[in-house]
Subunit: 360 residues, 2 copies
């Protein structure tokens, strides 16, 4: 597998359309509210205008892409749940019983469940079967995957976005399932930024103190054994990542290529976003952060990405649950643009006019 | 107007049903997710179970109650907008063109627009015409209203909730319109807590530095001139409040009486909530905070109420916009309770089982 296809696609990621963003700002200031008083709703409306090159837009259908993969590092005792839960939860997603199904349904979004690296044979008519390999290597002892496999996982994400975009999907939310995957996420964050693992490794799905020590130790060993080159994002991602993390990096790159917004979920999705923007910095403008996870390193990771979360619900589940919860807020920003009256149309006095009247 | 009717009603506010809350917690821990991993969504589900005495419930229809009133203190130059904007915005609400209309529509909620104290004659088939008086007195020089008028405004809120609850409404969001109303809100907050006005007076809809100084001064004079008795909530509310603020305090009390949750919006709604819980502390258990406003004193006011906001969107508009945006999140907490699979039904291994297997 060569990287040329990916290189060619990401070379096509454009900056946001400044003229459309300025037109959106001007429209927002004519609407019946004090300028800027809708805060981040206005910022998102401007960002979406820049992404789509339109001030009033309809995003079309919505997809929460849940990529699933297993992690060899589970052998180090880094998770509160056994690895068998990954395929079990994939079936739960496919049967509609997981939290992300409930929240996506409520947001009117489709859950797109992708086996990109589960260490089990899965068969279900609703499954996107795109397995690159059965789980990663144990990063505490070896590389997670080969460079070719990382490229294949990224390409899988990009192509999935192509496919969904062609079916009318206009906004993507990232989600994941992979028992053990906060460990490679912390390793990626540490390798890309030089932050100490002790500062960014968290409790995941709820490990105890001894487990936390094993997890920090596993990340330290992963960094030492693999010696990733921080200047080579593919090297970092292939040595320390997960298949679902590389796949989500591809989803993010693909969304930017197709000029669609992508809503990122918690710590693992944010690690995928960090990998994506290290591969293609221009992709950062297409990101919308959703929630602030309780996972220890998430606030720092969002800070590294330059993003601020919209909701603070103390969640730590992953799956795309935080991203799904934010879809209605993002849609609200579009409704504001299209549905509100202007000061002129509603006959409402503006602050500025009041000033003029006062001076008259 | 006597206070007996209000006293009799608020005496009926019950604490939350602990047995239903415990049943809700037990159900949440059987669902396919790490215990507690949905954070505040789980807390809200438990609270709603305690409010409704049911673990799986349907709230019925939703109302954003927008109460409008004018403020004599506008004469002190405390707002960036002229007072004429209050009736203009009421008409905008009634015509569906304001931000709260857009956000309520998206949340599937009705906007209930109430004239409880606008200083203008309003006539519209959609208006709830419940005027107690035409605007308040200028609190920097006199009492906002009489004690009887405050009681009437509270009773108006309680009765409105009765009326809407009988039509099937199961959740209320508070909103308001009243040019100048961050000033009485700050005065109430200061009078109830002893906090210095300089710490809690903010920019409102966007006043300049000189306006901010006038506003702090107006609050200081209001406190000095009226000398409210902090131990007598009706005294504080009638001397310093607004008609829409007293009306919203009534909505909050009425929701607690009827055992319905009430979602509070920003600074002004939170001031109404503070007045309500000073009148009837048991009402506090029925409150759900929505967003953290950019208005300076809001974080402190929520802290005083013991509430944590769900969304952080840097908004400062009022009208009920933040509360409306949170309605889908609150509904999501109910969907989680009713729509998710259990570990058992989905055949997913639990963390605890993993521990047993590891020991076996």
């Amino acid at each position: 597998m060569k990287t040329e296809e990916i290189d060619a696609r990401i070379a096509g990621i454009l900056p946001l359309d400044e003229a459309s963003m300025e037109a959106a700002r001007q429209r927002l200031d004519r609407l019946t509210k004090p300028p800027g008083s809708l805060g981040k709703l206005e910022e998102i409306a401007v960002q979406l205008a820049g992404i789509a090159s339109e001030t009033i837009l309809d995003l079309g259908s919505k997809a929460v892409i849940v990529m699933a993969g297993d992690h060899g590092v589970c052998a180090e005792g880094v998770s509160a749940f056994p690895a068998e839960v990954t395929p079990q939860m994939v079936l739960n997603f496919l049967n509609g019983g997981a939290a992300v199904n409930v929240l996506a349904r409520q947001a009117g979004a489709e859950v797109v469940c992708v086996d990109i690296g589960v260490n089990a044979d899965l068969d279900h008519p609703g499954l996107y079967a795109r397995k690159v390999r059965r789980g990663t290597g144990n990063i505490a002892r070896e590389a997670a995957m080969t460079r070719e496999e990382a490229v294949q996982a990224i390409r899988t994400g990009i192509r999935l976005v192509d496919e969904l975009a062609e079916q009318g999907c206009g906004i993507f939310a990232t989600g994941e399932m992979g028992i053990g995957n906060t460990t490679p996420s912390a390793a990626l964050f540490s390798a890309f930024t030089g932050r100490d693992p002790g500062e960014i490794v968290g409790l995941g799905t709820g490990i105890d103190e001894a487990g936390l020590r094993r997890k920090v130790d596993a990340v330290r060993r992963a960094l030492a054994v693999n010696a990733p080159d921080a200047a080579d994002p593919l090297d970092v991602l292939s040595k320390l990542g997960g298949l679902e993390i590389a796949g989500l990096a591809g989803v993010i790159l693909g969304a930017a290529v197709r000029r669609r917004p992508v809503v990122i979920d918690g710590f693992i999705s944010s690690a995928a976003a960090l990998a994506a923007v290290r591969i293609a910095p221009a992709a950062g403008a297409y990101l919308i952060a959703s929630h602030l996870s309780q996972e220890q390193g998430h606030a720092l990771l969002l800070q590294e990405l330059g993003l601020k979360p919209l909701i603070h619900l103390d969640m730590r589940l992953g799956e795309g649950t935080g991203a799904a919860l934010c879809l209605p807020i993002i849609e609200a920003s579009l409704q504001i643009m299209s549905g509100m009256a202007t000061f002129e149309s509603a006959g409402v006095s503006t602050s500025h006019q009041a000033g003029r009247e006062a001076r008259a």
